[in-house]
Each structure stands twice: as C-alpha cells, then as structure tokens.
C-alpha cells in the first residue's frame, strides 16, 4: 500500500516582479482524494502547482506536506525526502528533447521510488507512444501522452497534472481519464488535476479548489457545489426582494423581468416562498457556476 500525502498552505504568496500570482492562500488538500484545481488562464493554477511540488520557493507563507511516514509536516522546497514523493507533470513536459522516449522512461524508473515499469509499458502501448523516437520528434499529443504516462507510472503519493493532458485529442484524454481512475482505484493517492475544462473532468473529482487572480474563491466537495447555484427569474422587485440575503453571482434584466444567479442552498421553505411570490427557480450547472465565480470583475458580479 502506497502512502498518500496531505497538503496544507499557510498564507502562501508568490509574486513575479512585484505582481502577485498567489495571494495569501490558505488551503488544505485531504490525502487520498482526487482534487480539481480550477481557474481561468492566469489565475495562478500553475504557480500553485509548481510551489506545491517544491519547484518554486514561496515569497511569503509556506507549503506543508504531511504523510504518516514523513513524521512532521515538511516544506517541499529543496527537500528531496518530500519531492521524491511528489510528481508534477506540466504541459511543457519538462523533458529532455534530445533523449529517446525509452531513456526518459529509464531515467524516471531510476529516480522515482514508487515507479511501476509494467504500468509504464502498458500505457505507452495504449497511447501508442513510439519508444525509440526522440522526444523532440514526437507530436504535441504524443509528448503530452508521454507526460501522462510518467505521471501515472510514478505512482507518487502526491501526483499533480498541470493541464498536462490538454495537448491530447479527445480519445486520448478519455484514455487518460480511464487509466487514472483505474490506477487510482488500485493504488489510492492524492491527485491534483489542474484544468479549465471543468465539465470534462468534474465527475472524476471529489473536491475542488477554485482560484481567481491568485486568490481562493472556494474550496468544497464537488458534489456540494452541484445544485448550490440557483437562478431566480421573475418581476424585478420580487426577484430583488427574494435574493436580498444571498450572494449574488450574476444579474440580467430584460424589460420588467430579471434573472439573478445566486449561491446558496434553497431549502423547501424558500422554494415554496419563491413559488408563492411567482418566481421561477432553476438549477445552475457546475460549469456555469464556475464561470460566474471566476468572471472578470465588473463584468457580471
């Protein structure tokens, strides 16, 4: 049985030339779960992924990795004990272009303590990655596939895929999703999938972290977010009165009718109240909720 790792960040800030990429993040990633790291492009997902993996030092605050075999919580930066248990796969691949695929695999096998060579071979076959070719000769899709193979076969207690599978076509991405779930069932570990393709991965996630402009928007079990948004439609005054106590995500007016998207649990009492006031209440899907939660400031908030 593999170890799984928990992750904690405290007041984590990283900036580039004075511009904050991560802004005082306090996060907890529970061990042994598949977490989604969601956010628009430039929201700080990749910076967070790199900092969690110890590729980058925080400017302020810290990242702590906890696991039963680690003893105390440890910071990953420049700590090989921790980083040997973490695998970050990025879109760029971080691969040596001149090396042949089989040499990349051999290197990973020698460096990764939990490496499974049989799984690696099986996945290379399934993704049809030619092992004799040099990395630079691979298409973008095959390069991404190679990254995914490295990530899965590493079986690292904390495995982070930072949009690494976006270069793959839909059938290959589906192969990746199936392989991830199958291997996760066999060897449970902490997985982080960073993506902006919410609808494509949402069913595979257990928890989500939503970032916007380097800040934490929400962290929640993903099933709890489904059905948490509601659209309230009706006459302007009635809608405004009903939604006064809610967090309003978006508002739209069409003549005397208004549609307001709110965040919050609508219990049967509230639903009956809405019906009595002549209001229509509809569910808001996760994808729409995500769009509203991360909309550019001023656009729809």
């Amino acid at each position: 049985m593999n170890q799984t790792l928990a992750v904690r960040t405290e007041n984590l800030s990283v900036s580039f030339a004075g511009v904050p990429a991560l802004d005082r993040l306090d996060l907890r990633l529970a061990p042994g779960k598949i977490h989604g790291l969601l956010g628009r492009n430039g929201s700080g997902k990749s910076t967070l992924a790199a900092t969690l993996a110890g590729f980058r030092q925080p400017d302020e605050g810290r990242v702590l990795i906890e696991g039963s075999d680690l003893g105390t919580a440890l910071e990953p930066y420049e700590n090989a004990v921790v980083t040997s248990r973490i695998c970050l796969i990025r879109e760029s691949g971080d691969l040596v272009d001149a090396a042949a695929v089989k040499h990349v695999i051999a290197l990973a096998a020698s460096l990764r303590p939990y490496w499974d060579n049989e799984l690696a071979g099986e996945l290379l076959d399934r993704f049809e990655v030619p092992t004799n070719k040099r990395v630079q000769k691979l298409s973008r899709g095959k390069k991404s596939a190679l990254g995914v193979v490295l990530g899965l076969a590493s079986r690292a207690p904390l495995t982070i895929f930072d949009e690494s599978y976006l270069g793959m076509d839909v059938p290959s991405r589906n192969l990746f999703y199936d392989a991830l779930l199958a291997d996760y069932a066999e060897v449970p570990r902490t997985v982080v999938l960073s993506t902006h393709l919410v609808s494509e991965v949402s069913t595979m996630l257990e928890e989500v972290v939503i970032l916007d402009n380097g800040r934490l928007v929400t962290q929640s079990p993903v099933d709890a977010l489904r059905g948490r948004g509601a659209s309230i439609v009706g006459p302007v005054a009635a809608v405004d009165e009903f939604t006064a106590g809610f967090t309003v995500l978006a508002e739209e007016r069409l003549g005397g009718t208004k549609s307001t998207t709110v965040l919050g649990d609508l219990d049967p009492v509230l639903l009956a109240e809405a019906a009595a006031a002549g209001l229509e209440v509809g569910p808001v899907g996760l994808q729409d909720l995500f769009v509203h939660l991360t909309a550019p400031t001023g656009a729809s908030r």
Partner: protein
C-alpha cells in the same frame, strides 16, 4: 448513463439504480457492480459512487454481503414502487394537466389518448 452537473452525482447514481430496479433491469437479490467497477464504467470518482451506493444501503434498497459485494434487497422493487406511486400524481400527472391547459388541449382529449394508449 449521462450525468448532469446540476445536482449531486451520488444522488443521480442512486436514482439510476432505483430506476433499474423499478423497471426490472436489476432483479431482486441480483448483485450490483462494485463501486470501483461503477466508477470505471461511468468515469466518476470512486468516493462519489460509494456515497451513492451507501445511500441505497441506508434506504434498504441494497444490502451488503461481506467480502462479496452489494445486492438488490428482496423487497426493493415493492418499496420503490410504493414510494413512486405516492408522488406519481403530483410529479407526473399534474404537470401534464398544467401543460395541456396552457396550450389548450382539452382534458377529454387527454383522457381519450390515455385510454387508447393504455389499451394498445
């Protein structure tokens, strides 16, 4: 099956299995998929699938045999049919009547259609 992202997936899983029991696609005392099989087949998180199955065990629709798996409870179909019958008029018939009125279909036409359809 296709999941929508507007309600918790564990509830959608539970509802789907209930429907399969009501229609007879899943027989009483028949073994259901393991949560890992279910997760793999429908590409969903195993913990989510487990939660859906646990809910059905709590409701008495499924029962566990230790080390073997989960099975449809012997009285599950009756249990589900009874509870669906309770909500049938409110959830199925009433909306149909409202729609018929809204678009101007006389209720006698509806009744006639139901008789024909039911006899066919």
């Amino acid at each position: 099956m296709v999941f929508d992202d507007r309600s918790p997936i564990y509830l959608q899983i539970a509802d789907q299995i209930k429907s399969d029991i009501v229609t007879g696609a899943l027989a009483e005392d028949e073994q259901v998929m393991s949560t890992n099989q279910y997760a793999a087949s429908y590409r969903i998180n195993p913990a989510t699938a487990a939660k859906g199955f646990a809910q059905l065990v709590d409701e008495g629709v499924l029962y566990k045999k230790r080390g073997i798996g989960m099975f449809v409870a012997p009285n599950a179909r009756d249990l589900l049919r009874t509870s669906r019958r309770d909500s049938f008029f409110a959830e199925v018939v009433d909306p149909m009547i409202r729609e018929a009125k809204a678009i101007g279909v006389p209720l006698k036409d509806v009744v006639q259609h139901i008789r024909h359809y039911g006899d066919a």
